[in-house]
């Protein structure tokens, strides 16, 4: 069938080329490889495919199919549910006892035990393994010894992890962190089989996990074939025969392939096609909130931005941005104007509050101008918004934001974009504290907790506090929230901390980002989880 199709179109192509005539009636060869197998677009993962080494969505997609951890986030509500964990007990929010469920195995038959987790976490945390996500383990006692800021590690394993028996292990944290168990659904905390440690290269070329799918074949850089694992012990068994992940050189061509009927699922509709997507796909296009927020951060290491009264200027700038207009026209509603510093995927119970930012996030040109003037005006007279120009069509929205500010302040030179060539360079300028004005800051949550939207970004010297904002009141409230044992009260405290961020306008919230996907008429039950990854195991093939 396949060969015949090729031969036929080869003949057609030749005919087209030589005689400039077109062949009619050439059908498409259908979508995926087999009957119940879904073909899905993929990008080459940036880092080696290890659970604690994957920090972007393309690798995360695979881990999501291959692994199940102690907790799992419900694909719809984002709520953390016990999955491999039978129970996680604590009396003081600092010492946890984890009991692993019986009956789980890896797809190679090995039992998933307490040791599978402890070994995996020790591997992920250790400096010598170069894991990009090592800092996820930094709340566990002994992290400083296995992963010191400078020099060599002085210990091989985390002292805070102890295996009690085959199914139990204990975790000691360095501080109180009541919602810590909720973070365990993140990929970095996945268990690993012995095969991972015994023959690492073999594992990397064909990963083995404990999730609903197994790897059938993996050609690095071009394709991964995953097939349903029949003996999968979990409730979330795959409802299709497998998934073929195909690497595309560009998501525009993946979109073309989807419209031509050669691809089943595309989980990132290219910005240039958003205008056509309704016409091309109709209701086979989904656009749902994801845990991503875009903000403008400020360099607080620059005295001018840290001065008194500057919070008024920042608030004024925030009010000068017409978010609704920009999200409607530039992003075709794949972004939603931000109304707080978290994300709607948290839901109100989780701490999302669409009234928190209030008037400070509403467009009001007159008030904006007044506030900026009261605060002493824009430092240096011109606002230069720094962004990386290589990915994500940032130039368009930066120009739009600047236009909006210029119009509101009635000054053509109030704001201008300042592109940086590459993402790495952009990050370097941030790390080296070279920013002189606001800069693009995006945050994709690691786990659906309000803590994850605040602490890493605004806590003094936190890992992603790029603007080096520091506020004692905020730090104190976050510490209190982490010590709170009741999740609802913890969320309440975090919201108090978020109000400090608002009053100081530590960063200007711009918009919440949605996940978008398009799919063929061959498949149904397609949804994106709050991490904007398709929920593969629920997809059915018609």
């Amino acid at each position: 069938m396949r060969g015949a199709t090729h031969a036929k179109w080869a003949a057609c192509a030749m005919a087209v080329v030589l005689a400039a005539t077109a062949c009619g009636g050439g059908g498409n060869g259908g979508g995926g490889g087999g009957s119940g197998v879904i073909s899905s677009s993929w990008g080459d993962p940036q880092n080696p495919l290890e659970p604690a080494n994957t920090n972007e969505v393309q690798g995360g997609k695979v881990l999501d199919m291959l692994f199940r951890g102690l907790k799992r986030y419900d694909p719809r509500t984002g709520e953390a549910e016990n999955w491999l964990a039978e129970k996680i007990d604590t009396t003081d929010s600092q010492n946890f006892t984890v009991t692993v469920k019986d009956g789980w195995t890896f797809s190679n038959g090995e039992k998933v035990t307490a040791r599978s987790f402890v070994d995996a976490w020790n591997y992920g945390a250790h400096l010598k393994n170069n894991q990009r996500n090592a800092y996820f383990f930094n709340y566990i006692e002994g992290y400083d010894e296995v992963h010191p800021e400078k020099g060599e590690a002085t210990a091989d394993t985390l002292s805070g992890l102890k295996v009690k028996d085959e199914r139990t292990f204990t975790v000691k944290l360095t501080q109180k962190f009541s919602t810590w168990p909720e973070t365990l659904g993140y990929n970095a905390f996945a268990p690993l089989p012995r095969a991972f440690f015994d023959d690492h290269d073999a594992w990397l070329s064909k990963p083995v996990g404990n999730g609903p799918y197994t790897v059938e074949s993996y050609t690095k850089g071009s394709m991964m074939s995953l097939r349903t694992w029949d003996q999968y012990p979990g409730e979330d068994k795959a409802r299709n025969d497998g998934v073929d992940l195909k690497v595309y050189t560009d998501n525009t061509i993946a979109y073309t392939d989807l419209t031509a009927g050669n691809l089943d699922l595309l989980d990132d509709v290219p910005a240039s096609q958003l205008r056509n997507v309704q016409a091309d796909l109709g209701d086979r296009y989904i656009n749902t909130p994801a845990g991503i927020i875009q903000t403008l951060a400020f360099p607080y290491y620059d005295k001018r931005w840290n001065a008194d009264g500057m919070e008024k200027v920042r608030k004024g700038l925030s009010m000068a941005i017409n978010r609704q207009q920009i999200t409607d026209t530039i992003f075709q509603r794949t972004r939603t104007p931000a109304k707080d510093w978290t994300s709607p995927v948290l839901k109100e119970e989780g701490g999302f509050d669409d009234g928190l930012c209030g008037e400070a996030c509403e467009f009001d040109a007159a008030e904006a101008k007044k506030l900026v003037d009261e605060g002493g005006g824009i430092p240096g007279g011109t606002l230069r918004i720094t962004f990386n120009a290589d990915t994500g069509s940032h130039r368009e929205w930066v120009d739009a934001v600047c236009n909006s500010i210029n119009n509101a302040l009635d000054n053509d030179r109030a704001c201008t974009g300042n592109p940086v060539g590459t993402f790495a360079d952009f990050r370097n300028e941030i790390t080296d504290r070279k920013m002189t004005g606001p800069f693009r800051a995006g945050w994709q949550m690691d786990y659906p907790l309000i803590q994850n939207f605040l602490q890493p970004l605004y806590y003094t010297n936190a890992s992603s506090n790029d603007g080096k904002w520091s506020n004692e009141e905020f730090d104190r409230l976050v510490d209190e929230a982490n010590a709170e044992t009741d999740p609802a009260r913890a969320a309440g405290k975090f919201k108090d901390a978020e109000e400090v961020v608002r009053d100081e306008m530590a960063a200007i919230p711009l918009w919440y980002q949605n996940g978008s996907a398009g799919y063929s008429d061959r498949i149904s039950n397609v949804a994106l989880n709050p991490f904007s990854v398709p929920v593969y195991h629920e997809i059915t093939v018609d």
């Binding site: 880092n47 992963h147 400078k150 595309y248 050189t249 590459t422």
Partner: protein, 307 residues
């Protein structure tokens, strides 16, 4: 002849070192790549330092270059940031691009030279004017426009071909991308051949051949074409290198996982190992193609001899 080849091969050595050094420096100017590996957050300093040490980025540039060249001569082109050996990437990318280039060159030779001969022999006739006009259009339209247009028409609207090339990238799948890649060069080949043929058609030796009563086919193929092809061969020879490295646009449009795609990804991710490795091989290809072209001159024109 043998001495000439050796001399040429020796000349390649400084060229090789010069180009690789230049590329190495250019990639280095782009700055520290490690910061881009941790997404929208700061890499933790300890891991970043270890990564830098692993990729040798903590040493001065000249030392990095020396180590790199030392490794290259033992066949080790380093490791890309995703943990894959660059040689492994080359092993998958080069065969694909070579196939694509071969398809493109075949198009250039077959279509370009035939059209060139045809128009060259019928100078000023409607066929000549028509082809000239078409080549003018092809040359002035950028490759990505031709590519996207053909992809949309043949792949989506008429469903004649699959718009995206599969990872196997078989020759039949590469026909349309090959044609797109060849299009501009093809137009040049047509024009070059046409001019050359038209010029030589009035030469004395052709008149002699005709006067001898040789059949027209033999006059054209043995006498006229052989002399007219020298500039065309030069062009095609240098074009081989350009096609292999310049397929970035075509490869991205048609989802071909070849050299262009790897180079693009290497540049975006600032993976100096990938970029320098691939470009080094491309430089070698370019140098060898040029040498072969020069040697071909002697075959085409016996008057040219290399001592």
């Amino acid at each position: 002849m043998g001495r000439y080849v050796i001399r040429r091969l020796l000349q390649m050595i400084p060229v090789f070192f010069g180009t690789t050094l230049l590329i190495f420096l250019m990639v280095n100017v782009m700055g520290d790549p490690v910061a881009g590996l941790c997404g929208d957050r700061q890499c933790d300093p300890a891991t970043a330092a270890r990564l830098r040490a692993e990729f040798g980025l903590d040493k001065p540039v000249w030392q990095q270059y020396a180590t790199y060249m030392g490794n290259v001569f033992t066949g080790d082109f380093g490791t890309a940031f995703n943990g894959q050996k660059v040689t492994e990437l080359m092993g998958t990318a080069f065969p694909v691009t070579v196939r694509l280039t071969v398809v493109a060159v075949v198009f250039e030779i077959v279509i370009g030279i035939s059209l060139g001969v045809l128009t060259g022999l019928r100078r000023g006739r409607p066929a000549d004017t028509g082809v000239l006009l078409v080549t003018l259009v092809v040359i002035s339209v950028p490759t990505f426009v031709t590519g996207l247009l053909l992809q949309l028409l043949l792949g989506v609207k008429w469903g004649v071909v699959r718009p995206a090339v599969s990872s196997a990238a078989t020759v039949d799948e590469l026909l349309v991308p090959g044609l797109v890649l060849a299009s501009v060069s093809l137009a040049y080949v047509t024009r070059l051949t046409r001019t050359s043929v038209a010029e030589n058609a009035r030469a004395d030796y052709v008149r002699t051949a005709v006067a001898k009563g040789l059949p027209r086919r033999r006059v054209v193929s043995r006498h006229l074409l052989r002399n007219s092809l020298i500039p065309v061969v030069t062009f095609i020879g240098t074009d081989v290198g350009a096609l292999m490295g310049g397929a970035i646009v075509t490869e991205r449009i048609f989802n071909i996982h070849g050299v262009g795609f790897q180079l693009y990804q290497g540049i975006v991710r600032q993976s100096s190992q990938t970029v320098v490795g691939f470009v080094t091989v491309l430089v070698l290809v370019f140098l060898l193609a040029n040498l072969i072209v020069d040697l071909l001159y002697a075959v085409l024109d016996p008057r040219i001899r290399y001592a």
